[in-house]
Symmetry: D2
Subunit: 213 residues, 4 copies
């Protein structure tokens, strides 16, 4: 998108936010149903899940606050909203349904937050922002799927709530690659820093060292 | 995006929401600065503004609730946030600056709401949702710019707040056409109905007739 | 509070909001634990529950949208917040615990919404406002407990979200009567209309007749 | 309220939150109109304003983030909401009206945030929570008026957003003393720590010393 990039740069878009004082990790919708091309998956979601395993492990060893999201609807349809009206198959993601469970590779541990949500953003209609704020977090590493859907919505809301969002670009995935690429472009220009996983891990370690020194 | 479309259709995306009982109009960031390629404008924003004139006129004659948004920051920088950190030139959109004024063609009239905002979404950190809710609105026609920025954010939040969003596809514009197209695709598949202006006007008239009968 | 009242009236407080176009019912925290003086109950909560039975029945027969709230925390403490820090016993209200279940007299039926919350307001950190908005609701009858806690917080947020709040004054209760009375005073002066149950039922019937005619 | 207190203590209410890592100051609605008994003032609001002068000075010298609120409505009534319907005189608090200006003793300095709001809470429909979150704040000293109105609403929302609220009990005031007392009771039992100004200043100094050591 070189032509677009030139316009964006001229208009001052795409500055770097950098890391703040305290970092948390947000894992968006890495559930079985989004890892299954027959349901909501496909594209590069599987590899993004695999690459997240090491990042999650690093964050756990560093003791960072970690939150996961799942989409969960009631079986009786009482909480169905306009998002389900637009994408009816989401209504099958009920509390105990296999597709709504977090993938086994990334299973949450006690003390890690699991947020149930009924909308794209991890923050809308949830108390997630308050959970991170109470812990003094001002920076969020964000991974998950889909890049063009719940990740983008969560990254934007993270920015709006006052958290510097860092999208780990090879730990987010989408069912289709063109929306994935287009949304990474938007996110990097307007709302977030983009870092590959290995650079993010290095940045965390450096950041920790600076905090301690 | 025919390959993507096939995946989205198979996964149940892209259903139609239709109009609800009562319709409002939301005009996002059609201000001088976004109509000026030297600032934040370019692409197809100018034509989108021109095509909005008739739609606004129709909505006024029908007595629909109408809200406009402007981005406004304090001159002393006290309210600068992460969005300004990412796009520093936004800080120049102060209350009395020419670029932050709504374009003359669409000047708000007394009784129409003008929302000042400091973030992409018309709803985040504002009381706009309550304003429409108190009027019993359940459907929003949305026009403005940019498609890939404040329009998309506002459309998603409209859906989240319980308003059926209808993006008037030839009354939204962007500084660059590829992000414009990519975001219209996302919006139409996941969060909103897309209608061209003339169809939207027809739908309003039909809708009104059904309400009255 | 006659001296206070004189001040409030002189300053224009306490006007009537009246009913809007479409009414919903919100039942706040009528769960076993708040009906048990050994846990969070006492005072006039029991009688408020009993008087709500007929109101709920009326609303069901009229087909109004009905939402209930429960306070629910995770057993592992991962979602404990500042509210639990202030009132630690709330942490015992886990998903399957008897005290967190809605009282048998008011058991929700399929299609009625049950909102899980971790804060006083029924609206904060939940998608309840959107649920009512999507249904075109602009007026809420509010019952529940406690008057000085979750009811007051929910009534205020109802107003903020654009719903006219009507507190059914003999269907709200509190563990202690002085806070109950003091908060009814505040609510009636600043944020809501107060109606007794029988008047509320009459108003609903009259309102329906006017809508139909 | 000794009888009430016994009930609250038995049910585990009223624990202390204490200070977190980083403290901010929130000054709620100390504007001319609330310092004037002929408008919205009276009671102990005047003395609360006077006692806030030293606290504000201390916070400024310590470099804490400071935010003020004002209630501001449009002269054309376009943004009038249910709060104005309940208390019509609030509609006179327009941008340039003398009663909506912050009192001279506490005039904000450049870089301090001034939040315009149209509802009781400093946080509802504003981006204030994000402003404090971006600065890593997890604790808020709260002063202002009225105790039973905008202060209470702001304190509760501070808690909900993840900030430990500390109500400076002799720097909050109300037009009538019984609502003032009743609301301080509720706040101290459920949502906030209460400290007198001199103790708050001491706590800030001690807290700073511990941070530096």
């Amino acid at each position: 998108m070189s032509a677009e990039l030139e316009v964006y740069q001229r208009q001052s878009f795409g500055q770097r936010l950098g890391l703040g004082r305290r970092v948390g990790l947000l894992v968006v919708d890495f559930v079985n149903g989004f890892n299954d091309p027959a349901l909501f998956g496909g594209g590069n979601i599987g590899p993004a899940i695999e690459r997240t395993v090491d990042l999650l492990d690093t964050c756990r060893r560093m003791g960072l606050p970690i939150a996961f999201t799942r989409i969960v609807f009631e079986a009786d349809g009482s909480d169905h909203n306009l998002f389900v009206a637009k994408v009816p198959a989401l209504g099958g993601l009920t509390e105990s349904a296999l597709p709504s469970q977090i993938v086994p590779q990334l299973r949450p541990r006690p003390g890690e937050l699991v947020v149930r949500k009924r909308l794209p953003s991890a923050f809308f209609g949830t108390d997630l922002a308050a959970w991170f704020t109470a812990k003094g977090i001002d920076t969020l590493l964000i991974v998950g799927c889909t890049t063009s859907g719940c990740v983008r919505a969560s990254v934007l809301d993270a920015l709006c709530h006052g958290f510097r969002p860092i999208v780990v670009s090879d730990c987010v995935g989408d069912r289709a690659l063109r929306p994935h690429d287009a949304n990474l472009f938007d996110l990097g220009q307007k709302y977030a820093d983009l870092m590959e996983r290995d650079d993010a891990i290095k940045a965390l370690v450096t950041h920790r060292r600076e905090q301690v020194t």
